[in-house]
């Protein structure tokens, strides 16, 4: 039995290394190991199976309820360069293929080439885009987009916003204002706040999630770029601390590179 416990300690060390290298926080890793030691006492299954179970239990279930017959609004935000605009194109195709009638809102009125970029995507997917030519404000675009989506009886409105660092107070305040407009102007709509997180991000992802969550609330996470060699363990830390689910993953740069989040697959990939 002593021999068995030695093997287990080796396994724990290896798992600890795997988790840290996957960008799971030190704190969450230690919590997982603590849970493992408790489970191990009453459970004689393979250690790796116990670990997988613990992590799957940490991750909340999908809570996205996009349904036809009403206006659904997906409000997309996140820090700079994580893949928001590309993600919106993928979501548009994903729901268009399911028969949804869609409007996109080009509410990044700030970054060079942002409106051009989403215009190309809207055309490729074949969905309506509400945008303003020349200098405009995100709030104005959103106002028009909601009016347009309601007038044309769309099932789905997806709102793109400019990338913003969570430690830029004025930009977070702007996001709060946009969130409020969506809540008050489209009161009967089902609204879903989607944070896009880049899977290659390190521990800063937790701070990103905390800040956005505190200021406007996050319903779910789109974990982009999991086709990179990063494992996206940040999602486990965020699940553990904020109980926010990952609903989709981004697996590349093309329109079809989107998949429903699968807990089992995700946990498997952490340990391969």
């Amino acid at each position: 039995n002593l021999f068995k416990s030695d093997i287990t300690e080796e396994i724990i060390e290896k798992i600890e290394e795997d988790l840290i290298l996957s960008d799971v926080s030190v704190d969450t890793t230690l919590k997982i190991i603590k849970r493992f030691r408790e489970e191990r006492k009453k459970n004689s299954r393979e250690p790796i199976e116990i670990f997988k179970n613990i992590i799957e239990e940490i991750m909340p279930d999908n809570n996205l309820k996009i349904e036809k017959g009403r206006l659904n609004i997906i409000f997309v935000f996140g820090v700079n360069g994580v893949g928001k605009t590309t993600t919106i194109a993928k979501l548009a195709k994903f729901y268009k293929d399911q028969g949804f009638s869609i409007t996109l809102a080009a509410a990044d009125t700030y970054r060079s080439g942002a409106v051009d970029q989403i215009s190309v995507w809207a055309e490729r997917v074949g969905v309506h885009l509400v945008k303003h030519e020349g200098k405009s404000k995100p709030s104005a675009v959103i106002f028009d987009a909601i009016d347009s989506a309601i007038a044309r009886e769309r099932d789905l409105l997806i709102v793109d916003t400019a990338g913003r660092l969570h430690n830029r107070e004025n930009l977070i305040q702007e996001l709060e204002k946009l969130n409020k407009i969506l809540k008050t102007k489209a009161q009967d709509a089902y609204k879903y706040n989607l944070l896009v997180l880049d899977a290659t991000t390190g521990q800063n992802a937790l701070q990103q999630a905390k800040t956005f969550s505190e200021h406007i609330g996050i319903d779910g996470i789109f974990l982009s770029k999991i086709d990179s060699t990063a494992k996206g363990g940040i999602a486990i830390t965020i699940a553990n601390e904020l109980k926010i689910p990952v609903v989709f993953v981004g697996t590349g740069e093309k329109l079809d590179d989107i998949e429903d989040f699968d807990k089992k697959d995700f946990v498997e990939s952490i340990f391969e």
Binding site: L21, D23, G81, K231
Partner: protein
Amino acid sequence: RLQEKIKDVFRNLSGSGKISEKNIEDGIREIKLALLEADVNYKVVKEFVDEIKRESIGQKVISNVNPVDLFYKIVYEKIKEYLGPENKGFDIKPGKTNIVMLVGLQGSGKTTTAAKLAYFFKDKASPLIVGADIYRPAAKEQLRNLAVSNNFAFYTEDKDPVTICKNAINYAKKNLHNLVILDTAGRLHIDNELMKELVDIKKAVLPDYIFFVADAMVGQSIVDVAKSFDEHLDINGVILTKFDSDAKGGATLSIKKVTGKSISFIGVGEKIQDFEVFYPERIASRLIG
């Protein structure tokens, strides 16, 4: 906070004692945790603390020296050692066409940095900004807008990236631009075809400087990414963007330790002026407070 934690560790160490393996253990652990939380790579952290341990043990704690300060100094110096000497960055060489190439993962900030580099050197050179990203929707428009609104010359065409870059160099020579900045498409280091494209561009135009552009918020995987870009291209330096975030930026330590290449510049915002030369001391205090 880290400094208080280190203080507690050495509370019981009186003057004329020595730093021993026993009392260093907790201090080492605190440093290890701080570096991991700052996204320094796991393997780099292990190496770092092993070296700290070896250098600290047996250090005499003289009666008028605070052991906390001594330990801290060892850690601080080790961070500066890992980051390497202050990097001279890159300089415009007179009488030639200076060619800079920007490479990196998707969304790391290359296109924005291309414009920032032009602005940084606008008084020392006549820049030509080149759009060689033919994949991302409106990538050329993004860069053209940045160039035009800041009065920089811009070059692109409807060809493959290697041809664009080759022709851009000829265009630069004809139009007396002595600094050519090549913006390339973001790509994964594991995409063999796209990595080969970078090697082809390099062979075609022989850049004076290849910068690996990385996001300061990046996690553990950056070590493999940086190594791969370096192995394919023998990069000259690193530009870390989004340094204005509150990420601790441990990637700086990992990238330098693993590739030997230094951080030359940092991006500190979205505007064209938000660009600075990197000084290692900035990271030391950011990493361990």
